[in-house]
């Protein structure tokens, strides 16, 4: 029965959870793998799939012969597009960025034409995964190769008339959408052309072109899907970031009512945007499970993952910056070409648009123009990858600011200071039309400089330059900001995005006083269970251990918009806060009733309602028990103090920070070695510093990887040459250094936690810091750019006077092994054939 404390001394105040270095609750099960990864799920009678994929980037399918495959042991069926009706559904593009956007239809199984190497053309269903894979080799597909649109610039220029290769010949063009923002027209700033013209006569005009190479998200857990069609609802388990959106897409495209579909994202091993997709594989598993009436599983191989899960980045960026002779920027013009790959993925077209608002970064540019052409090619589709549009923008502007500093002849930090928004000027409406609510660039920069030993390193750099040291030192700066916490629904509406940006939470007070927090965000490695527990523990005054966070199941978290765009804490976390506050308010009359006090005399503190001026009080957790018994409630009160809340943010939030990177460049070999890296980020109030450090470290490595290591390379035929981790170079701990991180704090004003997103910050910030450092080391050699990734050979060539270092060797001169159909350079694995 409810313990109403009459005279017992109040419980000692709980230690505040917010700000504590809590180890992540979820890690024991995630690290040991003793958990429900999708591929660990086995159901009675479950069938397995193997995909037959096109080895060609673009080819007409002239025949599929599955006779031999169908006779193999354990085979249930071999299915092609012709065998399935429209209940298979389609892959949707949820963000047509213009009304005129050209969007090729995307069936999960190609019927008459394959548009990228890796596209599914047939599906084998078998009793075991091994049998499925064996039989897949027996499916004979005849192809007539078609000219493939591979090079982004060439694809953009191709038309039916000029005979250029078209990714989808029936469309007559590779151009998908053209999206423009102009500050003059929007009324947020002046006219860029005027600014450029003026700077040409009296000032500085910098024109630069940067390549955002194609990257592969390379999450740790390959994608896997299980569908169980038995029972009233069809249940799908999938290694996805977006169970709710996926459920909607399944319903919208297959005709199965949403209420008959349950999607579960069990523990998911990373995503980085790469699992923010409605995939052909998911659609196929769903359709075949329904068709066969049995549970069906598909788990991709790593090679399939690298080849067919969506890629990221892949842009050409043309920039024109106008400035006065003092380095004060007067205008920026951005023209982008963005490679969509063969299809417009769920938000693929919108990725460059997310960048559109970020090229002006932390600066007060008076005029800004942005134009982006999205282009279809015969490559793997592209979509969100950690940062999605913002890393590209940040890279370009932070590279340019360094170029401007070199042109003006001042320190790169000085040029930024001449242009940045000062802390007194917040809130500040930018030339791109966003309102930055808070920030302090001066403070973050001062702290970063101090940690880095900026002046000492500059002095060392000077000494090495003067002595002609074979190892040169470079210092790179990146004073980034980003917009995250996706997203105010109204803003999304104005951008023609197909959904809202709110998040939902509910709190269930159990009979024993334990607390279940249900969030519509869908963690896949971020640590939501820990962070949300800390928030709720503080808010409700309950022990951290008493809070359980549930997510990733549409039947448990019935509403949600999932996890991406650094939104979970700042949108989902705020929904949790609001739900918690409602719990307290619902409990208050019950507390008053039991304490025989008036509601006005109660105060809620440390998990307990107390009567002001007395020792009498009752714990919230005991009130939960009281509602379970419901023996003694105020008249008319429902027997529940559970509550839910849906939060729609009014604005994005704007993390920022100053990152400083020092590299050593071996001028004899071109090898770049990281020497030190300082990140001073302002992400507002930090809930769990340990989780934040993990996000920052991981983010930094991913951004550094773009600068130095990773690139998805295709051969002349459009086959992915970097088709395994032998060739797609992911750095490991051995390739990084110990990062120095710290924080300055300007709380966000748009959520009650004061928090800003941190999931993408490190990735967004670090790429330009590293490339700026490489270029800085080489300026005495006349180098003003090195293309990414800054491989040793590129750097070496740049030093030899080879410009930005040229194309990746080997991409143009691949070695193609007829017998295996594998493309590679020296293939580390073909040896055992001998």
């Amino acid at each position: 029965m409810t313990a109403v404390e009459e005279s017992a001394s109040p419980a000692p105040a709980l230690e505040k959870e917010i700000g504590r270095d809590r180890r992540r609750k979820e890690d024991a099960r995630l690290i040991t793998g003793r958990t429900r990864w999708t591929d660990n799920i086995t159901l009675p009678g479950m069938l397995h799939l193997a995909m037959v994929r096109s080895p060609f980037a673009h080819a007409r399918i002239t025949g599929i012969d599955a006779t031999a495959a169908k006779q193999a042991t354990g085979i249930v069926d071999v299915v092609t597009a012709a065998d399935l009706d429209e209940s298979l559904g389609v892959c949707i593009n949820a963000w047509p960025i213009t009304p005129e956007q050209v969007t090729p239809g995307h069936a999960p199984i190609a019927s008459d034409r394959a548009a990228f190497a890796g596209e599914i053309v047939a599906v084998v269903v078998a009793r075991t995964a091994a049998e499925a894979r064996d039989a897949a080799e027996l499916v004979e597909v005849d192809y007539d190769e078609l000219p493939a649109a591979l090079d982004l610039k060439e694809a953009a220029a191709a038309t039916a008339e000029n005979g250029g290769a078209l990714a989808h010949p029936d469309l007559g063009t590779n151009k998908s959408a053209y999206w423009v923002f102009d500050s003059g027209q929007a009324g947020t700033g002046g006219d860029v052309e005027q600014a450029i013209a003026a700077a040409r006569t009296d000032g500085i005009v910098l024109e630069r072109e940067y390549r955002q190479q194609r990257l592969i998200p390379a999450f740790m857990e390959p994608r896997s899907t299980v569908v169980d069609p038995t029972g009233e609802q069809i249940t799908m388990w999938s290694a996805t970031q977006i169970p709710h959106i996926l459920r909607f897409a399944l319903a919208a495209t297959t005709g199965v009512p949403e209420s008959k579909i349950r999607v579960i994202a069990p523990d998911v091993g990373g995503g980085f945007g790469g699992k923010l997709q409605q995939t052909p594989e998911e659609m196929i598993v769903f359709a075949l499970a329904r068709r066969l009436g049995k549970p069906v599983k598909y788990t991709e191989t790593r090679s399939e993952s690298l080849m067919s899960a969506h890629h990221g980045r892949d842009q050409w960026q043309k920039l024109t910056l106008a400035a006065g002779r003092d380095g004060r920027v007067t205008g920026l013009k951005v023209e982008l070409l963005a490679d969509l790959g063969a299809y417009v993925a769920i938000v693929g077209g919108g990725v460059p648009v997310l960048g559109a608002f970020m090229f002006n970064a932390i600066y007060k540019f008076p005029a800004y123009h942005f134009a982006c052409q999205t282009v279809l090619t015969n490559k793997t589709w592209t979509d969100a990858y950690r940062g999605a549009g913002r890393p590209e923008a940040t890279f370009a502007i932070e590279r340019l600011m360094d170029e401007l500093a070199a042109e003006v002849g001042v320190d790169p930090l000085e040029i930024r200071q001449r242009n940045w928004i000062t802390h007194e000027e917040f809130p500040f409406t930018t030339v791109a039309g966003l309102e930055y609510d808070s920030g302090n660039y001066e403070a973050a920069t001062a702290r970063a400089k101090e940690m880095f030993g900026y002046d000492e390193l500059r002095a060392e750099q000077q000494r090495r330059r003067e002595s002609g040291d074979k190892v040169q030192l470079g210092i790179g700066v990146s004073t980034f900001t980003e917009m995250c916490g996706l997203a105010p629904s109204r803003v999304l509406g104005s951008l023609d995005y197909g959904a809202g940006g709110w998040e939902h939470a509910s709190i269930r007070m159990l009979a024993t006083g334990k607390v279940e927090v249900v969030t519509g965000a869908s963690a896949h490695g971020q640590g939501h269970e820990t962070a949300f527990s800390q928030i709720v523990a503080d808010r409700l005054g309950v022990p951290f251990e008493d809070v359980e966070v549930l997510h990733g199941d549409t039947q448990i978290a019935h509403k949600g918009l999932d996890t991406y765009g650094s939104r979970s804490l700042v949108v989902g976390g705020e929904a949790v806060v609001r739900a918690a506050d409602k719990v307290i308010e619902k409990a208050r009359p019950l507390a008053a009733h039991l304490l025989e006090a008036s509601v006005e005399d109660l105060e809620f503190k440390d998990g307990r309602f107390g009567v002001r001026g007395t020792d009498a009080g009752v714990a919230l957790q005991d009130l939960a028990t009281a509602t379970f018994a419901a023996h003694n409630l105020p008249d008319g009160m429902e027997p529940s103090i559970d509550a839910e809340a849906t939060f729609d943010p009014v604005n994005f939030n704007y993390p920022h920070g100053t990152h400083l990177c020092a590299v050593e460049v071996d001028t004899e070999t071109g090898k770049v070695t990281m020497r030190s890296y300082v990140a001073c980020d302002d992400i507002g109030v930090v809930i769990n510093p340990l989780i934040v450090a993990g996000q920052v470290h991981g983010g930094l490595v991913q951004g550094i990887a773009q600068a130095l290591f990773e690139e998805a390379v295709h051969d002349e035929g459009g086959t992915l040459v970097t088709g395994s981790f032998v060739d797609y170079l992911l750095p490991t701990a051995a390739d990084t250094i110990s990062f120095q991180i710290d924080h300055t704090t300007s709380p966000a004003t748009t959520n009650s936690l004061g928090a800003k997103g941190v999931g993408e910050a490190g990735t967004i910030a670090s790429t330009p810091a590293v490339v700026n450092a490489v270029v800085d080391a080489l300026r005495p050699y006349g180098v003003h750019d090195v293309a990414m990734p800054c491989t040793p050979e590129r750097v070496w060539r740049a030093i030899q006077g080879g410009g930005a270092g040229g194309e990746t060797p080997g991409a143009a001169a691949p070695h193609f092994d007829e017998s295996t159909g594998m493309s590679g350079t020296v293939d580390r694995t073909t040896g055992a054939d001998q």
């Binding site: 130095l708 490991t732 055992a832």
Partner: protein
């Protein structure tokens, strides 16, 4: 990733293994540590019908001293070779190379003999084996035969080991007192070398009296840089003579062009790394 079906046999003696190999002929593949073979099977680049696992043949494992050679059993894991004091003392170049080979997991599984039998031109052990003049002991129907390193590596992934033969052990002539250095050039740590130079040098009274230099990934087999060795022996152990000798590292090479670098770049790298390796081996620092 699932390999195609195969049958498996794990003999417990060399004779049984040779018999199995004779019986199944080119239908069979030998399995050592599996660090190269298993990826091949799992990616379905090869589908042998039989796998003959050498893992249960104890006599193929171990390191011993025999006269003026250190003998390393083919099935000795990299991690054991890398930590062996005899190897460190008499063939320091091997220890240095193994330390940079792959990652901890692979070093515990992969074997010394398996790596050399695999004959990947980018394999880390080929250069040292050539620089040290290793001798390969191969068993077949007619008993044991010995093959010099110069004749062992035939082509890309091809060695003197016949189809029904097994590499039993590798004899490394002792280089006691020689300095050594393995200069491995990579973009990320866990990678095969883009180019590597294995150098071992004997310096007596300031003069180079012996030199062995092997190049990795500079052609279809590991290469012995005889031109460099010739240019060095009898010269003072100085930065100048190392630089001059390093210029000859390109002789007889035919480097590949791949994602990690062009042939031209590798030709450049080979010279820089040779100079550095020689200087370090001679104790002159980085060069």
């Amino acid at each position: 990733m699932i390999p195609a079906p195969f049958d498996y046999v794990a003999p417990t003696s060399l004779d049984e293994a040779l018999a199995a190999l004779r019986e199944h002929g080119d239908e069979a593949k030998i399995l050592a540590g599996g660090q190269s073979l298993l990826p091949v099977l799992r990616m379905r680049l090869n589908a042998p019908e039989w796998i003959i696992d050498l893992g249960r043949i104890d006599s193929l494992r171990g390191i011993r001293e025999e006269g003026d050679a250190i003998v390393i059993g083919a099935m000795t894991p990299h991690s054991v070779v890398g930590n062996d004091p005899l190897v460190a003392q008499h063939a320091g170049l091997i220890s240095a190379a193994v330390e940079r080979l792959a990652d901890v997991q692979v070093r515990h599984r992969g074997t010394f003999g398996g790596a050399l039998a695999h004959a990947d031109p980018a394999g880390d052990l080929g250069g040292p084996a050539r620089a040290l003049g290793a001798v390969f002991v191969i068993a077949g129907a007619g008993g044991m035969r010995q093959v010099d390193a110069d004749d062992f590596f035939v082509d890309l992934f091809e060695t003197a080991i016949g189809e029904d033969e097994i590499l039993v052990e590798v004899r490394i002539p002792k280089h006691t007192g020689w300095g050594s250095r393995y200069e491995k050039f990579v973009r990320v740590e866990h990678q095969w070398p883009i180019c590597a130079v294995a150098a071992t040098v004997r310096v007596e009274g300031g003069t180079v009296t012996g030199a062995g230099v092997g190049l990795t990934n500079m052609g279809s087999t590991p290469i012995r840089a005889r031109g460099v060795e010739e240019a060095l022996v009898g010269q003072p152990a100085s930065a100048e003579s190392f630089a001059a000798a390093a210029g000859r590292a390109v002789e007889g090479t035919n480097p590949p062009t791949d994602l990690n670098g062009s042939a031209e770049y590798r030709l450049h790298l080979a010279q820089v790394l040779t100079r550095r390796a020689l200087a370090a081996a001679a104790g002159l620092g980085e060069g």
